[in-house]
Amino acid sequence: MSDEYNQKNAPLEAQSSDTISGTSGTPSKDIDYVRPAELPEQDLYHGHSFITKWIFCQDAKIIGVQYFLTAVFTGIVGLVLSWLMRLQLGYPDLVPFITAEHYYQFVTMHGMIMVVYFLTALFLGGFGNYLIPLMVGARDMVFPYVNMVSFWMFFIAVCVLMASFFVPGGPTGAGWTLYPPQAILPGTPGSNMGIILMLVSLSLFVIGFTMGGLNYIITILQARTRGMTLMRMPLTIWGIFTATALAMLAFPALLVSCIMMTLDKMLETSFFMPTIVQAGEVLDYGGGSPVLFQHLFWFFGHPEVYIVALPAFGIVSDLISVHARKNIFGYRMMVWAIVGIGGLSFFVWAHHMYVSGMNPWFGFFFATTTLIIAVPTALKVYNWIITLFRANIRMNTVMLFCLGFIVTFVNGGITGIFLGNVAVDIPLSDTYFVIAHFHMVMGIAPLMVIMGAVYHWFPLVTGRMLSEKLGKWHFWFTFLGAYSIYFPMHYLGFIGVPRRYFEMYDSPYVASATGLNEFITLAALIVGFSQLIFIYNIVSSLSIGKPAGKNPWKANSLEWLTPEVPPAHGNWGEKLPVIHRWPYDFNVPGAKEDYITQTTPPSEVISAEVEKT
């Protein structure tokens, strides 16, 4: 990744001017040489009024914060819903207003909010918008106007979603997978206005996200600064990029299934609806296929898992590297693993459907592809822990969250192997094992990363540090609490407790788990309330936090190297930065400091033995 290497060994790399310029093959003497700019300076829109500066804002950083806050708001709604569910499961009859209808509505809204409106929007809309232009060295996203519309589309989608709480019949209670036929038939709560609003909201989300996604992809591909090759981008950007690419190709399937289900509901078409006899009456449907919906949904749904996971992978790699003061181990392999996981994720979707009654022969195909995907994922885990080996680990809050991520992710990844392997999945599917698995792997693990990332980048966004002391308390409550929610929950699945049960009744083996359910509920309440520490920390640090100054973590990547902290509109002041190396040159032998920023030209660190990678 270093210039020395590129100059000597790779004739086609960007830095070697001779092959590109065709100036007769004399190697350039200047080791700091970087190819000149291809594109003219970006034409930026400068808002002047309050409205154009803060509300309909075209600055990706503000849009990122807007996305972040909106997503967190919906996330808090989702959290409260989860408490209500847990209260019912741990202490049935304690809260009188939780009826079976309400319980299923809470389950549905919790799931949909957390997966789509919270995690996806937060990682791609929030972190993506804020970090992409900064980390690749652009002045802004390439289409700031479209980016602004994207956020407002998301905002409207959230409003429509929230509106469904207040319509007659309440929000849909179809489960977050919205499987027809039950999603649109009476017998499921919210099968009138609730489901329609949900489908409309999802469609709006997809449209809005497409606008944002185009921005993220094209900014990364076409608007990098001089010297920033793809293989010099921080892994955060790789994760967000691949996730966005997946989203661009997976959300269409969701949009299509939403459109078709809306038509099934409103025009009584029969895309997903076979002949149905309900309450002794033959309905006006016929010939459709419910399994088709499941295929479409999971063709979106499985990439969606990686849309959430890949940015988390990327971000955590950067956090670990910075705070362990060591280069990330096997950068190339990390990149290829991210891309490979992304590509494969389009060929594994039906492992969510092993017991769905699809063509039974699919089991072989999907079990195989699913377990193939385990290999690059495992390699990423190895690389994270090898990065810790012989490093110099700062045990601060950010690092704690990274470690928490590794523990929960490995745990959840391994239970994923249970569920990906078709014969093992059959007894476990549709039980609490599944719930425990996906909460561990795509709930808690990404949350750990989000929180770590907030502690890491808060100084950049606000110019002030968060309190370490509160941060550590927050971490231990969250990590130990969440682990003790979901680790024992797997064992409920082993017993055979099916998911989405409002009440367990008195099956002998289910009854034996009453105590466990109470414990899980208590832990969930504690974890939820401990987030107040986090919120308090953020709010108080905004005014009384220690001023961060420039680059408080001594990181290498570009976002810390802006002329002003927090970065101003246009990010880079007069001149765009020029990149000379990858962002992981920590503790290079022979260098004076333990880090060499990406913008440091080779001539300034002539004694450092930067290695070819």
Binding site: P36, A37, P40, E41, L576
Partner: protein, 112 residues
């Protein structure tokens, strides 16, 4: 930036003849695929012809009208590789549809 340079247009202009040629070919191919229906070919032959004409037409439009033929391979590859996901989806859904109709016929009508 000191060394900004105006890009050349890779896709700027091509001779008008090539557009007219492609245009003509598209008409001819469309006419052929219409003839497939006109002569009521059935079975394997029909499908082969339909697919050949379809892909030829799609290829011509993409390659020349949309200038993909003149674009650099980086763009072309990025655009075409995702089609494997669609191809996989098509194959699997075809198998799924066959299975569905099989169980329907077996258990609803034929029995045994």
């Amino acid at each position: 930036m000191d060394e900004i340079q105006n890009k050349e247009q890779s896709t700027s202009t091509h001779k008008i003849g090539i557009y007219l040629w492609i245009w003509g070919l598209l008409f001819v191919l469309s006419f052929f695929s219409y003839m497939v229906d006109w002569f009521a070919f059935q079975g394997f032959l029909r499908w082969t012809l339909i697919l050949i004409f379809m892909f030829l037409k799609a290829g011509l439009i993409m390659a020349f009208f949309m200038h993909l033929y003149w674009e650099r391979y980086a763009l072309v590859n990025v655009l075409l590789w995702p089609m494997t996901a669609i191809a996989g989806f098509i194959i699997l859904m075809a198998a799924e549809a066959k299975y569905t109709v099989f169980t329907r016929l077996l258990y609803f009508f034929i029995g045994g």
